[in-house]
């Protein structure tokens, strides 16, 4: 099965890259951009067919490697 994982910065964590993108959007003439936060997106192909087991494995992957939970949140979606 295929899993989609979204990693985002926690609220309040400074995101200078998001700020730079926000600035660039402004200079392209896009008005009304009130904020940009940059994150990461992963697609993981798993051999596992059991959703519950897959979710547990993915959670462990996120905690151990894919996200740094000091500053990041993660969301798992099973396709």
């Amino acid at each position: 099965m295929k899993a989609k994982i979204k990693v985002t910065l926690k609220n309040g964590v400074l995101d200078p890259q998001g700020k730079a993108i926000e600035g660039a959007l402004g200079s392209l003439g896009f008005g009304g951009v009130n904020g940009v936060r940059q994150g990461k997106y992963f697609e993981i192909e798993l051999a596992e067919t059991d959703n519950v087991k897959a979710e547990a494995t993915l959670k462990s992957m996120c905690e151990k490697l894919i996200a740094n939970t000091v500053i990041e949140n993660y969301e798992i979606e099973l396709a």
Partner: protein, 220 residues
Amino acid sequence: MKSAVITFPGINRERDMLMALEATTGVKPISVWHTEASLPNVDLVIVPGGFSYGDYLRCGAIAARSPIMADIKAKAMKGLKVIGVCNGFQIITEAGLLPGVLMRNADLHFVCREVKLKIENNQTFFTNKMTKGQIVSCPVAHGEGNYACDGETLKRLEGEGRVVFRYAEGSNPNGATNDIAGIINERGNVIGMMPHPENMIEPLHGKVDCRPLFESLIAA
């Protein structure tokens, strides 16, 4: 004092560190490749700077999960001395040996210059030849040195004297919280720092300000 310097793919400061250790302590360190499952018998391990695994995922994230790091972690829990410099600081922090995280520099620029560094704690195995409050010159070269941690951790680091190095006033190159340049763990055997003291130890470097740091290790 026997020491080892760990090299991961993408690390590029290991030779500087090996040379600095030998030049200052008189003892040739052992160079260890990251695929080794266990460390040689040493008193100190240094994780040097560079761009391990091309900074993929997050700086230091992949290297922090390598086999040799598992052994370093286990031995650090038992008191092995560990120093992480620059990418090494990012690696040992990602490995959970030190609290917090090194984030992208606040102004997004890679900084490569000399900064003024204040010795905040001279009671550590790496600073005991320095005086408290002493200000030294030290080069930095990083894109992600913006130290951050949660409020509780920050309170503890400050309250317990675990901020070892601070960028002197006006010298913070990356936006690090409280101008933090280097910290030590609770037990006092693991130090991480963003600046590169190994590049300020001989006249050819322009200054020798950081030589006493390495000389501190002789007694350690």
